[in-house]
């Protein structure tokens, strides 16, 4: 049962972490507004789910919204900062997070909400495991997302351009790739991943102001996996989810908050570029 719960949680963590990674790869900026995007998307999903009975439609709407939001934040706020220090861009994302948080609380008052979702039943599996249909769907969606991203990076033109930009932005620009466009799209996809994660969080658990804490854990996931490695988020998500849940279960539940950061510190000390990240990444920041 615990294992099943870890798997589901790891899926969501991986999804959240992938958002960081996609954005980081394209623009070398760590998006500190991620938590707030998750919150905002979650609340939007709640409102839409109430308004539109068909869940898939509301999910699609949330994803589109997040994509457009990501693109526009990049175009309006991040792009003008090109050439400034990385620090400015990071603090800018923090400020954007603060602003989005204010918007979220203004509109939804920061209450804890659950996304009403019609297709929910429980399945009993051997080994005394009981999982809801949503949890199965979550795992399916996360797998699908990773598969899509893999195919996208490998086979589509934009995906290939994105990889080129991640490898060497200067060279990519010289080869005629519009790195601003590519980064904008990456921000859109990263935000959409956050929106998807928010939706899954909302139907599995709940949306609240505290959801930011989960996004922070995901941020740890991205770092442990390697900031420039999408694949790295998967094992990292499992590590974080497992240690966190096991600590809560068998040790001090209070340590659950701190344990991801202890692991992160250890990774930073001994393998700062992450599990599957590239070592050169360290010098780029």
């Amino acid at each position: 049962m615990l294992l099943a719960s870890i798997v589901v949680l790891a899926g969501i963590y991986a999804l959240l972490g992938s958002g960081f990674v996609i954005i980081y790869k394209a623009s070398r900026i760590l998006n500190f507004a991620h938590a707030e995007i998750v919150m905002l998307a979650g609340y939007l999903a709640v409102s839409l789910a109430v308004a539109i009975p068909f869940s898939a439609a509301s999910l699609l709407a949330v994803l589109c919204f997040c994509f457009v939001l990501g693109m526009s934040i990049y175009a309006i706020l991040i792009r003008p900062l090109a050439g400034y220090s990385v620090l400015s861009a990071i603090i800018l994302t923090v400020a954007v997070g603060v602003l989005l948080n204010a918007v979220g609380v203004f509109v939804w008052r920061g209450e804890m909400e659950v996304i009403p979702f019609g297709w929910r039943t429980y399945f009993s599996l051997p080994g005394n495991i009981r999982l809801s249909s949503i949890e199965f769907a979550t795992l399916g969606i996360v797998t699908l997302f990773y598969a899509c991203m893999g195919l996208f990076y490998r086979f589509t033109k934009i995906g290939q351009q994105m990889r080129a930009t991640a490898e060497n932005p200067l060279l990519a620009a010289q080869r005629g790739i519009s790195i601003y466009r590519i980064s904008g799209i990456a921000w859109g996809i990263g935000f959409a991943a956050a929106g998807l994660a928010a939706f899954l969080l909302g139907i599995n658990y709940a949306i609240s102001l505290q959801i930011g804490n989960i996004a922070v854990a995901a941020f740890v996931v991205a770092l442990i996996g390697g900031l420039d490695s999408l694949l790295g988020t998967i094992p990292a998500a499992f590590i974080i989810a497992a240690t966190e849940q096991l600590t809560i279960t068998y040790a001090n539940p209070r340590l659950g908050d701190a344990i991801p950061f202890i692991i992160m510190l250890m990774v930073l000390m001994f393998k700062p570029w992450g599990l599957l990240g590239t070592k050169e990444e360290l010098d780029r920041v």
Partner: protein, 365 residues
């Protein structure tokens, strides 16, 4: 006779005749500036007696914030090391204070240096990853340390049995009971000025130059004989020890210590202060701290003028948060050098008036 007179330079504040004179902080050298200093000092002494205690409270919070902003600025603006864990160091200082006063009943003049030492030790630990980490990676390691400190503090608060926070009694410094906004006004502002002087001194001597060198070009700094590992850690130690002492002052001033207070949001507000004020500038830290601290209160006063409806009041803190975020974004996009640059421009305008161009060679400053 007349020759002699011509040769004797008029005693001008712009003319320095020794290097010793030139190393002084040149903020109060001209007669006009000296007058400003005197008027400013008079205003400062009279301020807490003239202004309402509400405004004094805001001024006190600004002084605390200024210390924090200066210490963070020392690290980020002057040394170029990112720290996202300063709220943690501040919390460590506050909890050291709480433990030492509530548990052991130690006086303030022991507690504050002790908090400084605790902060310095934590800074040492936080600085260790700076050997191999740069930029955002270093920021993340300090964020991790922040969370670990927070965990430790919450454990203490729990096992100490302090539900909603640890309440401190007003400390006394010798015969003087440090209670009331007016007394604290002087304590806090003198601390802030002392910190400013300390940091300004460090910046114009060997360590400060080494830090700036590391910020600008670390390899060149190393080749010039700077032990960059040592100086990075030194920056962390100085910065975290200062903010830890500031946390201690903050704890005494608000008289309640609770772990929820020292969240990442606090770090964000300090980051905002130095961004808005101006990176790497002591004056900028002051200006930023003043603006960011006074902002929510200014909005409250503004709202009081127009007598907003209850429905708006209900959303008021959101508006405060939103304005805060907006101010930071606007500064980053429109004036990345911060308030201190605006101040410089204004001063430049007055100094050059009636001319409109800067001199080709700026000999001064």
């Amino acid at each position: 006779m007349s020759d002699h007179k011509i040769l004797q330079y008029p005693k001008s504040p712009y003319l320095k005749t020794s290097y010793y004179e030139d190393t002084a902080i040149q903020a109060f050298d001209t007669p006009f500036r000296k007058k400003c200093l005197v008027i400013g000092l008079l205003f400062w002494v009279c301020f807490p007696f003239v202004a309402s205690s509400y405004v004094v409270h805001i001024a006190n919070l600004s002084a605390i914030a200024a210390i924090g902003a200066m210490s963070l600025n020392l690290l980020i603006g002057n040394t170029g090391l990112l720290s996202l864990g300063h709220a943690g160091f501040m919390g460590a200082g506050a909890f050291t204070t709480a433990i030492m006063t509530v548990q052991f009943g130690l006086p303030i003049w022991i507690v504050i240096p002790a908090s400084g030492i605790v902060g310095a030790l934590l800074g040492l630990i936080a600085g260790l990853p700076s050997f191999q980490l740069k930029g955002i990676y270093l920021g993340l390691s300090t964020l991790a340390i922040h969370h670990i400190i927070k965990y430790g503090c919450s454990e203490y608060q729990y096992y100490g049995g302090f539900g909603y926070g640890i309440v401190l009694e007003a400390p006394s410094l010798g015969p003087l009971l440090l209670a009331g906004k007016t007394v604290w006004f002087f304590v806090l502002w003198i601390s802030a000025f002392a910190t400013a002087l300390l940091i300004a001194n460090l910046l114009r001597s060997k360590p400060g130059r080494a830090w700036s060198a590391i910020r600008d070009r670390d390899i060149a700094a190393e080749v010039s004989g700077i032990d960059i590992g040592f100086y990075k850690i030194l920056a962390f130690v100085v910065s975290s020890s200062l903010i830890s002492m500031q946390g201690s002052l903050y704890a005494y001033y608000t008289a309640v210590v609770s772990v929820e207070e020292y969240s990442f949001g606090l770090t964000v507000s300090y980051l905002a202060m130095i961004i808005v004020g101006g990176l790497g500038s002591v004056l900028g830290s002051f200006l930023g701290a003043l603006l960011i601290t006074a902002l929510p209160y200014a909005l409250i006063i503004l709202a009081g003028l127009v007598d907003l409806s209850f429905a708006v009041k209900e959303h008021f803190s959101v508006i405060q948060t939103g304005v805060f975020g907006m101010v930071v974004i606007l500064f980053l996009l429109l004036e990345p050098l911060g308030l201190v640059e605006i101040w410089r421009r204004v001063r430049c305008y007055f100094e050059l008036w009636p001319f409109s161009y800067k001199p080709l060679t700026i000999i001064k400053r």
